[in-house]
């Protein structure tokens, strides 16, 4: 027991002496949580107005004259639109299409000959849009014209139902754009939930998986430095050495986990839920899973680089597939995603943040425990079979 402890303490000392390890385990996760939190917290507005470049829109009036469609012609000339679109008349559809392809125009709108007449008489009136080369331009110009057509559409409907006296009232009152949606609170009586909490949890899990790199680093480092020979000549059994090393890495990872949770709470106000003991249990299970997984990989890989590559790819791959990096389609998260370690822990962490009932957390706990048990068994078996020799 004494030997195990000596080795574990030595392991801790070596890890803490290295500045890079400190930076990687304690600083990097906080930087990432900060980046994800601030980058994706801008819930409102895709872009602020001043950064939108106005789109050059080709207006094609079929029948040649803009006068036949005064409604549209007036609209595109209105001064409040100058920040969004620059209308310019094109003589024909062909010219507009060629202009779109060459990049002269960003968007094209084709106005049929009797657009105004049809709107006034309540018949079908449709503008044709031709989409251009830039996604952003298409969105901006499309929104501008859709809002215009939308308000005409509702006004025409109102006039048809209410009679002509509504037309005067409609012109007097332009539709106001106000926000009609409030962000709902997903919570069951806890604190406010924000989107950055999601990424805080996913990043924590990613770094718990990354701690597998410390395991392989510790196991292979001894071999690469040829110090394993020396240790073998000491009165230390292989099992003591192995347990001691795992204990050391485990303590560092647990410390890392606690630091991320506490500092993200203090610095960025990330709320981790109402069940701290259960949270700790889930974290311990994840640490166990990542360490045993890395042990299995280290046992079967010949070199440090190979082991690191495998651990790295599995970590990034699982974080990606569980939806922790970039939003994935819903179908993926609940099908392929459920084969990752992260999925189960992430789901339960979010539920704890949202104060879900215990009954919703238990299934995840069982699944994770099963995975951990399976991996632990496999790790012990592979250690028995392969062992840790110089």
């Amino acid at each position: 027991m004494n030997n195990i402890w000596t080795i574990a303490v030595n392991e801790l000392r070596m890890l803490f002496r290295s500045r890079t390890v400190i930076l990687n385990t304690f600083l990097l996760p906080l930087v990432l949580i900060f980046l994800l939190g601030t980058a994706l917290s801008g819930v409102v507005g895709v872009k602020s107005d001043e950064s939108i470049d106005p789109v050059r829109v080709a207006m094609v009036y079929e029948g040649g004259q803009a006068g036949n469609a005064a409604m549209v012609a007036d609209f595109v000339q209105s001064p409040e639109l100058t920040d969004y679109i620059i209308p310019s008349e094109a003589s024909s559809r062909e010219e507009a299409e060629n202009g779109l392809r060459s990049g002269k125009y960003g968007y094209a709108v084709i106005v049929p000959q009797d657009f105004d007449k049809n709107v006034q008489s309540g018949q079908d009136a449709q503008l044709e849009y031709i989409l251009g080369k830039k996604r952003m331009d298409n969105t901006v110009a499309g929104t501008v014209f859709d809002n215009f057509l939308g308000s005409i559409n509702y006004r025409q409907s109102a006039v048809q139902v209410l009679g002509p006296q509504a037309a005067a009232a409609a012109l007097a009152e332009p539709a106001r754009q106000e926000t009609a949606v409030k962000l709902g609170d997903l919570n069951n009586g806890g604190r406010n939930y924000t989107a950055s909490q999601y990424y805080a949890a996913s990043m924590l899990l990613m770094f718990l998986l990354y701690s597998g790199l410390d395991v392989s680093g510790s196991l292979f480092g001894e071999k690469d430095r040829h110090t394993l020979y020396r240790i073998s000549s000491m009165p230390v059994t292989g099992r003591e050495l192995f347990t001691g090393k795992m204990l050391g890495v485990g303590i560092v990872t647990a410390l890392q986990c606690a630091t991320i949770i506490i500092l993200s709470n203090l610095l960025f106000g990330v709320y981790w839920g109402n069940r701290p003991w259960l949270l700790a249990l889930f974290c311990l299970l994840m640490i166990l899973i990542s360490m045993t997984f890395s042990v299995i990989v280290s046992m079967f890989c010949k070199t440090h680089t190979t082991a690191n590559t495998v651990v790295n790819f599995v970590t990034v791959g699982m974080t990606f597939l569980s939806g922790g990096m970039t939003p994935l389609p819903d179908a993926w998260i609940n099908s392929v995603g459920s084969f990752t370690f992260n999925h189960w822990a992430l789901d339960s962490m979010i539920r704890m943040m949202l104060h879900s009932g215990l009954s919703q957390l238990l299934p995840n706990l069982w699944v994770l425990s099963l995975i951990a048990l399976g991996l632990l068994g496999a790790a012990i078996l592979s250690y028995r079979k392969v062992g840790y020799h110089a």
Binding site: L23, V43, L162, A180, V181
Partner: protein, 387 residues
Amino acid sequence: MHKIMAIAWNMVKRTIGSRKGILIHILVPALVVAGIIFITGGMEGSNPVLLYGSQDTGTAGSHLLTELEKTGGYTLKEAGDEAALKEAVIAQEGMAGIWIPADYTQEMLQGTRPELSLYELRTSEDSILVKMNIDTIVSEMTAAAELIQAAGPDGAAAQTAQFAAVLEQAGQHHVGSIRTDYDLYPRETLGVATGLTLMFLMNLVSSTVTQILRDRTGRTMMRMYSAPVRAYEITLGNFLGSCLVGFIQIFVVLALGKWVLRYDYEVSMPFYFLVLATFMLVAMGIAATIAGLVRNPMNAGMINMLILTPTCMLGGCFWPLSVMPDYMQKAANFVPQKWAIQAVDMASTGGGWDVLWQPFAVLGLMAAILLVLGSSVLRPNEAGIGA
């Protein structure tokens, strides 16, 4: 010259000369990148699921839902009452959920501007777009409700009927638009596919720099300097070898994506290769600079990670830059990933060299500065293992 080639060739042989080398440095990463491209490419066709729940008995709620469905951007799925809706959002059955409260129509007719609730587990481009769509539809409905108050009949029942009639009429879209789409614009996922390729490329490039570092730690470099070769030959040889390995890696990744998975990169292959190759030089510069600062090869790899992930996030590898706040978009200018993605983006919208020179100039400059800084890796006398 042949001495440079000998050093370069030795580098290639050591990295990817063995079966295992090919597996680790070429095949596995290529498969991972291809797999990611395949997944993101598949995202394009599928509509995100929008969950909803409604207790509104009037017409406004159902009108809103039909109009949302007509935009063609979402698949709507009913989720029952508000608690069930929340549960479904938490279980990630859809990208967001909207809840329409009871008496939504009545309140709208009385002019009190009722609010809908939007539930989301995290912000995404799709959920921002949903909000914008809902805002537009609701403001039109509110305007119609105000009209009825101003010019319509008296009495709540009559007003409700009129409102329903107006909405029904509007739902037929007599005034509307047709979209003609010649597919001139780049696909949404192209940026993410490029970004993830860049991320893995950065990871790969560090492998050759680790190789050089190992030479230094193992004192092989000292021996090299005692051989009849000049310092510049060693430098160029190592540089050329690293480039060669990188080019092979890029080529395999691209070939797999293009010809096996049939992913459409929307720009010509030589151009895409050029962008990635230029970016690779910058990535090599970064890896070499770090290696120059840190002595231990293993730590150098870890520091590389410390730089890699945050810069990828900032540079727009995982999401479009436009969703970030303004000051972060400005900070992104200092990150090479942003320029590489921008070059691909510009080229895919048909930009010529008159605009493309800019991202390439920035990338070139970054590469030059970093590679000069990084050439200190090749100083043989610092073989320290600590730190």
